[in-house]
């Protein structure tokens, strides 16, 4: 007999379970659980693993595309979603959060987040070929921010660079709402042959269960239940030993070995050990297969002595996989792993009794019916309520706002503010070349990678404006989807599907639950209108500090397909004399804008409206124009409005900035005209000879357009409003973030 604490209701409460949930366990087992069983229930029923507050809402997402769209080979429910590119090839992708661990230990928290999402993708048999990351930090001048930014970015690079998956894009925002709870969302996409997809479903009674990868230590015990499902307070400091260290080198070996393994017919199922480690991987595989699974815990390879069965079941040591092999193939499996200096051990077998069982020193410490942990886990209908100040915050009377006296100064201020400044300081730390597919590097609206040997390409973008979501979560959720799709469409990639990471406060707060439901409804409506499928995702609740929730942040990672990758478009001006044209129309809105926040210190007003029908026509127009190679450049207008988008088109060109001369018509207030964030607008440049073609397209699509001016000169001139020397503006924009994060001033212009 090993010694364990006596299981009581109090112990269950200490595990984060409720009294009701504890009684439910007693009922499910018809007895008092063992200490180990209590641990297993606590992690499997945690919000993080069970989706108990969110599950019913996630069902609203469309999970197939429109007729004629690509086939969805795998929707939500597996380790990652899969979309067919053609008859032979498919892409596998998912986004996931690693927020709490990254706040505690930014480097390793972010690094292990990257490691985890990469495992989700290669687990399905795919070779990971591109990553994105979406980051939210507190105010740039908050004392902890620079430390957290440096650590997180170094961690993402440290892992991604070493494991050989290029990081090709992402987003970074700073907002005081994240001062005590940063967000680190990581996305990976892989490619797979459509007939070689592996799913994690344990089958074949008697088949051996094998453990491969790093040995088990006491890493992150209770990570899933305590960290990801509970809000932060001063006590979280005590959880520090729960930090996990990643080993990207071992992960790289695992990728190669697993992909080699999957070329052969030796295994039935494979699953990575992520949150809740051995427990969740065992239970999920058996659950999907409708079988049972029995483990001999004494066989688990360990890193230290005297690790208890409880710890073995709950450890979150990284870089581990669980495999159901075909009986008799154990040695072949071991031989493949040995070639990569990895050890594979038989630790259990598949059973037909529908039970999750585990033995320790010959004693059965776990005997739980699998459905009690999966399908029959608690599901909650939590109360939802609109925040009391919702209507008040949407009020905004712009006539009371003073007009700036110097628009050039305002534009410079916006371009050097941390949210709009170039993110080069960040993405320069990521290998974006490895794998040899990156056609458009970080720095344009969407990253474009080619699919070798097919002539096709994939467009990738990750987006969410959480200020919009705070002021109106429905519209904010909608815009996250719409903007992602638009970033792809302007780049020439047809948006087809997305993966979402829903970062919110505590679902036990009715206001948060309301935000959550509204955001999902907005995302759903946008997906339906644009014909997009949600194929995978992740929910991260309890993002709060001292009772204060973060701004709602439903991050959307969008994936699009280019049938000819050479027809991609980038956002920067390319040719002196090209015409500059604005597609879409400008509404009289300043609500929720970056301009209001940066210049007037206001987070107020309604986010811009979206006409989904017009948006769809605009995106279709951009795609057609890209195919016909009408545009020299196309850039989505987002935060900072028309003036910022024009400036970006001038200064983001990697080979050096280009000027532009522009005149804006219309009788809007200058700040609305320049900095308002009306949706469904794109700035394009094109040779004069292509103008008739564009006019035909806009006419057919019923998209309004305006001639703005032309590319050229050494200044950005917006007639009557501003004139700025482009080289200087470019330098300020490129170095602002470096200065604010590292305090180092770079004086030379490259």
């Amino acid at each position: 007999m090993h010694n364990t604490p006596t299981v009581t209701e109090q112990l269950a409460l200490d595990h984060g379970l409720t009294g009701d949930e504890y009684r439910r366990i007693l009922h499910a087992l018809s007895r008092t659980p063992t200490f180990e069983e209590l641990g297993v229930f606590s992690v499997m029923w945690s919000e993080h693993c069970s989706y108990k507050s969110s599950r019913r809402f996630l069902r609203q997402f469309p999970t197939t595309t429109v007729p004629g769209g690509p086939e969805i080979l795998q929707g939500p429910g597996e380790n990652a979603g899969i979309v067919a590119v053609d008859d032979d090839l498919a892409v596998v992708f998912k986004i996931e959060s690693h927020n709490h661990p990254s706040f505690i230990e930014p480097y390793h928290g972010a690094a292990t987040g990257v490691g985890g999402i990469i495992r989700d993708v290669f687990t399905m048999g795919a070779r990971p070929i591109a990553s994105l990351n979406s980051l939210r930090f507190g105010a740039i001048d908050h004392p902890r921010t620079p430390h957290l930014v440096k650590g997180v970015v170094a961690g993402i690079g440290g892992y991604g660079n070493c494991v050989g998956v290029p990081t090709v894009g992402g987003e970074v925002y700073f907002d005081a709402g994240y001062n005590g709870n940063i967000l680190v969302n990581a996305f990976t996409l892989g490619t797979i042959r459509a007939d070689r997809i592996f799913r994690a479903s344990a089958a074949g009674v008697g088949n051996p269960v094998m453990y491969v990868g790093s040995r088990t230590g006491r890493d992150g015990i209770h990570g899933a239940s305590l960290l990801a499902s509970r809000e932060f307070d001063a006590k979280s400091e005590e959880l520090r030993p729960a930090v996990q260290v990643g080993d990207p080198f071992t992960e790289k070996l695992l990728i190669e070995a697993c992909l080699e393994l999957m070329q052969r017919d030796l295994i039935v199922a494979i699953q990575d050990m992520g949150a809740a480690g051995l427990t969740s991987s065992s239970v999920e595989m058996a659950g999907r297969g409708g079988t049972g699974l029995s483990l001999n815990l004494n066989k688990i390879p360990t890193r230290e002595d005297n690790i208890s069965p409880y710890e073995l079941l709950l450890s979150e040591s990284q870089e581990r996989m669980l495999i159901v092999a075909k009986a008799g193939c154990e040695q072949d499996v071991q031989a493949i792993f040995a070639r990569w200096d990895l050890q594979a051990e038989v630790v259990g077998h598949v059973t037909d009794d529908g039970l999750f069982r585990a033995q320790w020193d010959g004693e059965e410490v776990i005997r739980i019916p699998i459905p009690a942990l999966t399908d029959d886990a608690p599901v909650y209908e939590r109360p939802a309520q609109q925040p009391a100040d919702f209507a008040a915050r949407q009020q905004l009377d712009i006539s009371t706002l003073p007009l700036p006296s110097d628009y050039g100064q305002v534009l410079t201020r916006l371009l050097t503010s941390p949210n709009l400044a170039s993110k080069e300081w960040v993405f320069r730390q990521y290998d974006s070349f490895v794998c040899g597919n990156t056609v458009v590097q970080p720095g344009s609206d969407a990253a474009i990678i080619r699919l070798k040997g097919t002539g096709k390409g994939i467009g990738l973008s990750v987006d969410c404006n959480s200020r919009y979501c705070l002021l109106d979560p429905y519209r904010g959720g909608m815009i996250a989807v719409v903007e992602g799709a638009r970033n792809l469409a302007v780049s020439g990639a047809r948006p087809v599907a997305l993966s979402d990471c829903l970062n919110f406060g505590s679902p036990e707060k009715p206001e948060v639950m309301w935000q959550f439901q509204q955001a999902i409804a907005g995302m759903r409506d946008a997906c339906l209108a644009l014909g997009l499928a949600v194929v995978s995702g992740n929910v991260s609740f309890y993002n709060e500090t001292e009772g204060k929730p973060i701004p709602p942040t439903p991050t959307v990672a969008s994936v699009g397909i280019l049938s000819d990758v050479t027809h991609h478009v980038t956002q920067w001006f390319k040719q002196e004399g090209d015409l500059i044209v604005l597609l879409g129309d400008t509404q009289p809105t300043l609500g929720a804008s970056e301009y209001l926040a940066v210049v007037h210190g206001l987070v107020a007003g309604a986010p811009p409206e979206v006409n989904l029908d017009q948006e769809k026509r605009l995106q279709q127009l951009c795609l057609t124009a890209a195919q016909q190679q009408v545009f020299s450049s196309a850039h989505d207008i987002a935060e900072g409005g028309l003036a910022v988008a024009l400036a970006e088109a001038c200064i983001s060109r990697p080979e050096g900035a280009m000027g532009a001369r522009v005149t804006l018509d219309g009788n809007l207030r200058p700040d609305v005209l320049l900095f308002g964030e009306s949706q469904s607008r794109v700035i394009v440049s094109l040779p004069a000879a292509s103008l008739p073609l564009l006019q035909t397209l806009t006419h057919a699509a019923h998209i309004p357009y305006a001639m703005l001016g032309e590319v050229g000169g050494s200044d950005l001139i917006i007639t009557d409003y501003l004139q700025l020397p482009i080289a200087h503006l470019c330098h300020q924009w490129r170095t602002a973030l470096t200065q604010q994060i590292t305090g180092v001033r770079t004086s030379t212009d490259q």
Binding site: I104, E105, H108, S214, G217, R218, D219, R240, P241, V243, Q244, V245, D247, F249, T250, R303, E304, S317, Q318, D341
Partner: protein, 81 residues
Amino acid sequence: MLAKVYVTPKKAILDPQGKAIAHSLHTLEYNEVGDVRMGKYLEVRLQGLSRAQAEQRVEEMCRRLLANLVMEDFRFEIVEE
């Protein structure tokens, strides 16, 4: 005065570097090698402090910057030069 600072990974924390070095040493047939742990060694030159002040200041530097207390332990010695 010189502070010699030793920063080592906490015992329960994975040390992938140490693991890889041990593996290589075994490949080179140093079979007598068991576990390897890898840490940092810093030499910090100090001016104008008494020994007691140095002890206190270096302790503080370790806590604030030189070691990551989430994952590392440290110790140090102060030597006269």
